[in-house]
Symmetry: C2
Subunit: 209 residues, 2 copies
């Protein structure tokens, strides 16, 4: 038996409505407080129809991470790979891209920030996997250029550290509003550059400064 592509598309439209409704409600009251009925109501379907798309809220949350969060992070990874102006340029591009995401989809960013350290282990693991890709891309972008210059190769966890500082800037942008974004942008760029210059300038971090 085949499936009508129109039908498939229609189903995915409803599935997306559930995902978006969840993000909207989670931004206000937190994902873990949401119920299947509340989300279904917000997506304009009957509570029982929820089961046509997900077995429970946890499965929906994983779809949220794999689909929407994954796409957002992939965008940043592409940015990091496509930037050819060296490590410092990559830092500017990635911070700008992340903060642009905060402006265009604040609910998604809030979800990522919250569930990355939330109470559901499966969510933490899934987001860790997604964000590791970004960390690896940043580390590659940093070291590739440095190798050309013959400088010291930084620790492999510098990509992850940069991601952490990046996410903190997003968190503050969410709380402090769009008028603070330029300041937060420069601050995050400065912090990641400090990290980068500290990692490459000194020949040993254990020695006294």
């Amino acid at each position: 038996l085949r499936v009508n592509p129109e039908k498939k598309e229609e189903k995915e439209r409803v599935t997306l409505a559930l995902l978006r409704a969840t993000l909207r409600l989670a931004a206000a009251h937190g994902f873990s407080s949401l119920g299947l009925r509340e989300v279904s109501r917000a997506a304009d379907i009957a509570p029982t129809s929820f089961y046509r798309h997900f077995a429970d809220m946890e499965e929906l949350g994983l779809a949220l991470i794999d689909d929407l969060a994954g796409r957002y992070v992939d965008t940043l990874v592409e940015r990091a790979r496509a930037t050819s102006t060296g490590p410092l340029g990559v830092v500017e591009m990635i911070v700008g891209g992340a903060l642009a995401g905060v402006a265009s989809d604040p609910e998604l960013v809030r979800f990522i920030l919250a569930e990355r350290v939330g109470a559901v282990p499966a969510f933490r693991a899934a987001l860790d996997r997604v964000l590791s890709l970004l960390g690896a891309a940043l580390r590659d972008a940093f070291t590739a250029d440095l190798a050309v210059h013959g400088a010291k190769v930084p620790a492999p966890d510098i990509g992850r550290a940069a991601v952490v500082l990046l996410l903190e800037a997003c968190s503050q942008a969410l709380d402090q509003g769009p008028e603070q974004v330029p300041v937060l942008r420069e601050r995050a760029i400065g912090q990641i550059r400090m990290l980068l210059s500290g990692a490459t300038a000194a020949t040993g971090t254990t020695g006294k400064a």
Copy 2:
């Protein structure tokens, strides 16, 4: 009318039981999914007795932040102030202290990490206030010693950046277990030292590396 100090002590014993029960349950299912009945049951009091201590779960959460989280962070602040072996020594002390907290009270640290970026604005604000104290103490410890050496004074947000990297180490320690702590410790120390050395070594971070 006076109150019997014995009675007051007894009430505070029950209040503390509610706070600890909440931390235990929140570590498993998330604070925002908890109800007053569930917490009261875990603390061995009747649901209606809850109201003798807190008006609702949000008030309890704020007490959790002001009392338990505040005490934990104060310990770290004291450590930062009491260390006299320079910025590099402060980094070691503070990372060690934070990770010791993860070992001794993992539920509290999970709560701090989660609610710092969770869905309740009042919790985010209260934790931001508490963690700002630590950031300021770190910045002071970093700059005080550097002033003696006549080096460049780092950006004021370096304390906050160090706190963010510190919290990330705690988060990974919670997820990866105690046997990974020594590795995470060295990694966090390295990252914060990179930040510090990058902030003080270069005269300008905008120039090409």
